[in-house]
């Protein structure tokens, strides 16, 4: 029998809220998203399928959602993993330039509502290209910096 100390865990508030969000997700999963099984409730992997009639139709991408101990007072860290979609607001290291993930986060939002925002961001794209400052940004993030430490300046709200 092992009696070692568990690793850093969510606050009880966060644990309770995530449990409810997961239950709600399982009852009503947002269209186009699939929650992939992981060993950790604090780290969700979500499969995204591009919406029909858009540039990303039927393409599969993976989001990684990492919940901080103080969730929902603090936003989750959301990035694309594996091959991030080509999009003017998505960097090649998976970081997403989307205000609700940073400055505009509010505890009224949920993983589901974030997913919807990301899908609508993908759907409204008119060209598959990287942000203009992609190389510089990705170089600056090489030491594994979290996108939450970036001082974002949100390009526009058209895409």
């Amino acid at each position: 029998m092992s009696t070692s100390t568990p690793q850093k865990t969510l606050s009880r508030i966060a644990a309770h809220r995530l449990q409810k969000e997961l239950a709600e997700w399982q009852a009503n999963p947002p269209t186009g998203f699939k929650h992939k099984a992981t060993d950790d409730i604090q780290l969700w992997i979500i499969e995204v399928t591009g919406a029909p009639g858009t540039l990303y139709e039927n393409e599969q991408y993976y989001l990684q959602v990492d919940f901080p101990e103080q969730y929902p007072m603090e936003a989750p860290q959301v990035i694309f993993v594996k091959d991030p979609p080509m999009h003017p607001h998505i960097y090649s290291n998976g970081h997403i330039c989307l205000d609700i993930l940073y400055d505009s986060w509010s505890p009224a939002m949920t993983v589901s509502s974030i997913c919807m925002s990301i899908l609508s961001m993908l759907s409204s794209s008119t060209s598959k290209e990287r942000p203009p400052d992609n190389d510089r940004y990705v170089r600056n993030c090489r030491n594994g910096r979290s996108p939450k430490e970036t001082r974002w300046w949100f390009h526009d709200d058209k895409v």
Partner: protein, 381 residues
């Protein structure tokens, strides 16, 4: 025995690892359980191979009892059962520190002759040294009541203390020569006097959506019931006169609650003493009080919009009363179209994390996380 308030949180979607929080005698503990057989694997449902990881405090308490835990693990068929075992073991470990001293023989011979007299069928529990007893009493409609009797060392000269699940404390009438059978008959009488109170309360519990208390006991005359549309009503029923207008208070945004308050005042003449309390409330408020099924689980309008709980998960409220006034969602967004409710503490925590929040004296001014309507909350919750 404490009520079971443990939280079992799955750590993965296969349900093979869990994080368990529980509290015992006012203290919180937690542990992790790994390698639990997945519910998908039919057949052996035993936690035999599961691994338990304890926080240091708990680990220290269990030192020397690891083999007992291991044995209980292999006997438990699911996590919930194991949590109960863990609490049971911990309770025994804590209690074992207090010694058990037996009383003189004369005490026991008197006690057992008294029990013979009233009949063993009325006793549902006897403590280790027989100074604590529990009576089981059935009332006229068949409700089962438990009354705990604690005998003092000088019994029968010293008055025993009794605790029963009654809305008003029972004052024991005691004289020299009184014994267990007199306690029993006084308890019966008290129980009979609250029959109408329980009829009224059970009607509420059955038909309305009771937000509080979560597990109403027969002693509790307080209820908070959902009215729908982010409003709720709390009432304290008079146990001796349960069909009169109770003390009441509305919760919700001022816009939706003010008309309800007016209706109570204007419609008081409709109150009929021969109707049940809930029927009277419906007639006075001119609305149908919704049941849990009517509102449905998705519209958890009563829960805090930040932490999604009704009672605040005990993290920043560390006072002596974790389920007290401050731990309920009592802050309401005054925007009529929003009306979300929050715990004061959650709202403070959120507003403090924003640079746009202003503070004047002890009040934080910010915006509702849902609709951005201005909202204010006292900082010192």
């Amino acid at each position: 025995m404490s009520e079971d308030d443990s939280t079992v949180l799955p750590l993965n979607v296969d349900f093979t690892a869990f994080h368990v929080f529980f509290s015992l005698q006012g203290k919180e503990y937690s542990f992790n359980l790994h390698n639990v057989p997945s519910p998908k694997d039919a057949g052996t449902m035993s936690l035999r191979d599961a691994k338990m990881q304890c926080e240091p405090q708990l680990q220290a308490l269990f030192r020397g009892f690891e083999h007992v835990l291991q044995q209980r693990l292999s006997q438990s068929t699911d996590v919930a059962a194991f949590v109960l075992e863990v609490k049971d073991i911990l309770e025994r470990i804590i209690r074992a520190q207090a010694n058990c001293v037996l009383l003189p023989d004369s005490f026991y011979s008197l006690l057992f002759s008294e029990i013979e007299d009233i009949g063993w069928e009325h006793i549902s529990f006897i403590g280790d040294d027989a100074t604590a007893l529990q009576f089981r009493i059935f009332d006229i409609v068949g409700r089962e009541h438990s009354v705990r009797v604690d005998l003092q060392p000088g019994y029968p000269d010293k008055v025993p203390t009794i605790s029963a699940d009654l809305p008003k404390a029972l004052e024991l009438n005691w004289w020299s020569g009184a014994g267990l059978k007199h306690i029993l008959s006084q308890c019966r009488k008290a129980i009979d006097s609250f029959q109408d109170f329980w009829t009224v309360m059970e009607d509420i519990d059955r038909k309305a959506w009771v937000l509080e208390p979560v597990h109403p006991s027969r002693a509790i005359s307080f209820r908070r019931i959902a009215l729908g549309g982010h409003c709720s009503l709390s009432i304290t029923v008079d146990a001796l006169s349960p069909r009169t207008l109770p003390e009441y208070r509305f919760f919700g945004s001022e816009n939706s609650v003010a008309p309800l308050r007016m209706r109570v005042i204007n419609n008081l003449n409709r109150w009929k003493m021969d109707m049940l309390l809930l029927e009277n409330l419906e007639s006075v408020l001119e609305l149908v009080i919704p049941s849990r099924q009517d509102i449905g689980n998705e519209d958890s309008s009563a829960d805090c919009g930040i932490c999604y709980a009704y009672f605040i998960p005990n993290a920043y409220v560390t006072g002596s009363d974790p389920c007290g006034e401050a731990s309920r969602p009592d802050r309401v967004c005054e925007n009529l179209n929003c009306g979300r409710t929050f715990h004061g503490a959650c709202l403070v925590e959120w507003l403090r994390s924003l640079t746009t929040t202003r503070q004047s004296f002890d009040v934080l001014f910010g915006h509702c996380p849902y609709c951005s309507h201005p909202i204010a909350v006292k900082n010192s919750i």
